[in-house]
Symmetry: C2
Subunit: 281 residues, 2 copies
């Protein structure tokens, strides 16, 4: 009986635990990079009132007070602002869609915010991806074939749909100019198939994922499937990523550095994201 | 006559232009670094209501609305906040104290936000620097002697006064618990001598400077001297820098990566600052 239990336990452990170990390539022991004048690409949109934002938010980034002038002989500027956490180029912390997920300040820098970058280019013949499309497991496998290598543990995958170019044009970026909850049925933009999110987590052990749309889930999603898989796995999400086109033009190999504002118990935060390109190809 | 003018012009160019060229070491053609699990130090305080902040600000970072709960079957969190630009670990853009200075979104990443790091350790026998003290040119020269090398063009100088350890204790960090403009006469904390700021700009062509106090100018300054020199020279300032002690413990050589929120026409912004250490010494 003891033997049977031991065998059963062993089998259970073998089934439950090792999927990440066996299917994931070991993380690199270190990420070498060289920062030069010409190889840094800023993947961040400017934060201002004109950013497109998810229509459930009651207001965009706004200066609440702008002070500028002279104090005696001194000229100074000094402003105040308010914003939704999930606004502009930002991070979703794992606690956004998972009760026990880590908040912003606890997202680890190595492993989740700095990593080997992988750009999945979904544009076809210069056209952006269809508004109601999903990026699938097949698309990622195709990317790996072209890239000639698997996405490694801790990798930061950036999905390039082509939507980012219209970030300041709400109607084109999101499908409607409307705001408020009543806008939601009219949203149209592509996203990541939840099955592909699960696959990237389970089989590639990614560190983070980003997209050049307002949400990792496509507009027509009803279950926030990719958000939930990623949140549960502790994988942060970057949304409204800017200028993946510049990465595509430069080359294939790069590192991503994504540093969010370190808000105590935040579920999201403005994030400055840059690519450090390996070398011109 | 033509000759005389040519000679005069040549002399004028020779006098006006080269001071930065002759006194500054050339910038490195590239900054190599290796990001590993054990060599990244987060130099950023968490943003929350308990941060010490300059008393002229009417309020600290605050969540204005915290949403958490279920939407059908989905659990989610989603928050809103307001804050002064010059709050927590943040950047002062050159437009903060100079009318024609560049705003946040135009501060160049290479040359100003990523650079070779230099830690000027002003603690003596474990004691933090005196509350009304200034870091002088002599202190910097002494640092260079110990470091065995000059601060290079584009270098990011971090001043370690020992105040950061008390960041959440306003009275100890700033000299008073009071808020509002009436608190200003009671502030006490050290800072950078404006002469040293000018010297670092002119003779070392630094890219940026940071300090583990609430202001690069010491509390008793009446002319914002260091702010003005640095703003005029286009050199960003990082204030409320966290954990320089961890850098000091690790070693001497490191890179700094400081990525601010990219606020259109901001004069300051929350900034995530990290050190990437070269190797354990």
């Amino acid at each position: 009986m003891k033997v049977a239990i031991a065998v059963f336990l062993h089998a259970a452990v073998a089934l439950a635990a090792p999927s990440r170990k066996t299917k994931c390539r070991p993380a690199a022991p270190g990420l070498p990079m060289v920062v030069r004048e010409d190889n840094v690409i800023d993947l961040t949109h400017e934060f201002n009132e004109n950013n497109s934002y998810y229509p459930s938010h009651p207001y965009p980034f706004q200066f609440t007070e702008k002070l500028a002038g002279k104090l005696g002989n001194l000229f100074f500027r000094n402003n105040y602002y308010r914003q939704p956490e999930h606004f502009g180029t930002h991070i979703d912390a794992p606690n956004h869609f998972f009760k026990d997920g880590v908040p912003i300040q606890k997202v680890r820098i190595t492993g989740h915010l700095i990593g080997e970058g992988y750009l999945i280019n979904m544009k076809k013949n210069g056209e952006r991806l269809g508004a109601d499309s999903l990026v699938t497991i097949e698309d990622i496998r195709k990317f790996e074939k072209e890239y000639r290598g698997r996405i490694r543990t801790g990798g930061i995958v950036l999905i390039y749909t082509g939507y980012g170019e219209q970030f300041y044009n709400r109607e084109v970026y999101m499908g409607t100019n409307m705001t408020g909850l009543e806008a939601i049925p009219f949203l149209h933009f592509p996203g990541l198939d939840p099955k592909a999110a699960d696959w990237l987590i389970t089989n590639r052990c990614i560190g983070a994922i980003g997209i050049d749309t307002v949400s990792i889930d496509y507009a027509r999603a009803t279950d926030a499937g990719s958000h939930i898989y990623l949140s549960r796995a502790g994988v942060p999400i970057f949304e409204n990523v800017a200028h993946p086109d510049k990465v595509a033009e430069y080359g294939k190999k790069f590192k991503v550095i994504a540093l969010p504002q370190k808000i105590t118990d935040g579920s999201g935060a403005p994030t400055r994201i840059i690519a450090v390109m390996n070398r011109k190809e």
